[in-house]
Symmetry: C2
Subunit: 162 residues, 2 copies
Amino acid sequence: MSRPLDHLDIKILRLLQENATHSVADIASKVGLSSTPCWKRIQRLQMDGVITGRVALVDQEKIGLGLSVFVFIEAGEQTKEWQASFATTLRGMPEVVEVYRLAGDYDYVLRVVVADMKSFDRFYRRLIKTTELKNVTSRFAMEKIKAITALPVVPPPPQATP
Amino acid sequence: MSRPLDHLDIKILRLLQENATHSVADIASKVGLSSTPCWKRIQRLQMDGVITGRVALVDQEKIGLGLSVFVFIEAGEQTKEWQASFATTLRGMPEVVEVYRLAGDYDYVLRVVVADMKSFDRFYRRLIKTTELKNVTSRFAMEKIKAITALPVVPPPPQATP
DNA sequence: GTTGAAAGAAACCGATC
DNA sequence: GATCGGTTTCTTTCAAC
């Protein structure tokens, strides 16, 4: 990270995380800057990898993917190789949209997005066939209460100056 | 939904979900269409609410949010009112980026994004102070293996025509 | 940081085949 | 659906302050 974010960067990130269709001039006026420096800041945020991309979001229901399932998994083995191979497998499965390795009694959580129970069953069979797993528990989402892509950008805590 | 998605819509959605910075002309040539009809399809997908927005994605680590925590919750009460009030509370908390109501032994999963353990503790105290909860279990993410916003757009299964 | 300007690219939208 | 054309808006860059 080349430079810590200042207040203006934070404002820019908040706006772009909510809506990336605004023009640079729009954003500039909202953060209280003129277009040129605002454009340069956005460029820099992209070059620095703070902004990783711009994407369109799609309504899950509207494309027929009515079911979200959280799958909790205990690893088959506790080795680096097993972990790497499992990660590769999951990255190749498009219905798996989130995977975190956890501390605690489960090793992994997945969020899986499918059309219905039948599709999930097909996914599930494919998953357990591909990899040796010790335990798999699936919990079905009844309702999506909240799902945002905007992260809470906050100023970094003041550094102690020794 | 006014019209089912055809193969071209699906291709467009796949491209825009990966990268929304492509020009219409780009997308058009990739899906094998000319600009105008491609532009009209994108407009329609937006009007129909299939595309819900375009956002910038931000690197969680780069803005100092090093910790993701999954919080599992058993509801304090099983009433509509409790559910609604709990949902409102969570929607007002920016560090809570995902909330699903689940079937099974836990009623809710949250994904919470914070800078560190200290910040999480502050969040946790705020959460349990605000709402009466029967049980709260926090599981910490050690590693983000995968997190994509692109949903697996698939053609709808052929309808039975009776 | 600011303003202003200017080239090129895109979005937008109608008309026509 | 394709192609054309034209208006408008935005991006991007470069000056000068």
